[in-house]
Symmetry: C2
Subunit: 205 residues, 2 copies
């Protein structure tokens, strides 16, 4: 049973990355998995249950594709950089044919009922992700790589903007410069957040 | 006839801003407009024709809501700032109940057929918008407000990232700090793009 479930979720995640949540229904997923709708019901009781399971699957795939390897880098700036670099375009390296389901989901569900279970799960995932980025940033400060006076929440906010715009530039506009633009923006952000660049003399603060 | 068409498009644009293109079908739009589906067909021959007309309507509404007033500001930095400030959260000031259809559409259509007419229209609109931002940036350079050595395409790229993340922060995460974060990021970008970029921004301390 678990193998079947995993096979459904793997195919479903690929579909989700291409079509968004609107493209995930039990009928479409049954067809893609070569199962009957009632066969699919044995594994998932509702469309929402499938969608939530797909987000869980996505977390696993993202962890094995880029997060776990990036976390092997030394704590501080090397790890922060590795996580950011691995995050950009991770779905392709995971073998998916579309973009990041959370990035797209935040635009698909922004005006949904605040208690919609998929919206709530997406929000919890995004908050957890931003918290991880904040923790990595704090570790880079502790390591002396970034300035102790850095506004960590603002830094993470700007990192997320670079990610979203890379997603649009790369996947929607298909701009061959997308990765270079994102890397330049991230380097510039690091530069002005470091201990030495563009910072006032510490003695004058 | 034009009044009916305008009424359908006004209601449809509000729907589009909340539900995305997946939420726009002739049935749903007919119901929202209090018309029969065949009555709607008298105005729009297909779902795609409705969707393209809604994007045209969006351009008109965006122009009257924020772009035209912002363009009244003096050429150079004042105009660039006014356009950026007006762009953030413009749909609410236009009386819509959802977010920006182009921002969301770029995530909804990124993996659609490259020749899909809605995808093509969205891409043309986004490119035109980025060209306008580039032109305003060049004018700010000509006015002596920004550095002549500025990489204009990179600057515009980063501005678009701030916009996208403001959209997510404000509409999806509902972060009360969204506008402040976007303003800080934009000020920081302007500061390092100005003629005196190496001077620390006193307001950021």
């Amino acid at each position: 049973m678990n193998n079947t479930r995993q096979r459904i979720l793997a195919g479903g995640l690929d579909l989700l990355s291409q079509s968004g949540f609107a493209g995930i229904t039990l009928s479409v997923l049954a067809e893609k998995s070569g199962m009957s709708k009632s066969g699919l019901f044995a594994h998932f009781g509702s469309k929402e249950e499938v969608q939530l399971s797909l987000l869980e699957k996505m977390t696993e795939v993202g962890a094995s594709t880029f997060l776990a390897p990036a976390m092997q880098h030394p704590q501080g700036l090397p790890r922060l950089k590795a996580v950011f670099t691995g995050w950009l375009g991770w779905t392709e390296r995971a073998g998916l044919h579309g973009g990041c389901p959370v990035a797209a989901g935040m635009f698909e569900f922004d005006d949904a009922d605040l208690n919609h279970p998929v919206r709530k799960r997406l929000e919890a995932m995004e908050q957890a992700w931003r918290s991880l980025l904040a923790q990595l940033t704090l570790e880079a400060i502790d390591a002396g790589d970034l300035s102790p006076s850095l506004d960590v929440d603002q830094f993470v906010w700007e990192v997320c903007g670079i990610y979203l715009n890379h997603h649009v530039s790369h996947r929607f506009i298909r701009d061959p410069m997308a990765l270079q633009r994102a890397s330049t923006a991230f380097s510039s952000l690091l530069n002005r957040s470091s201990n030495v660049a563009l910072k006032p003399d510490p003695s004058s603060e």
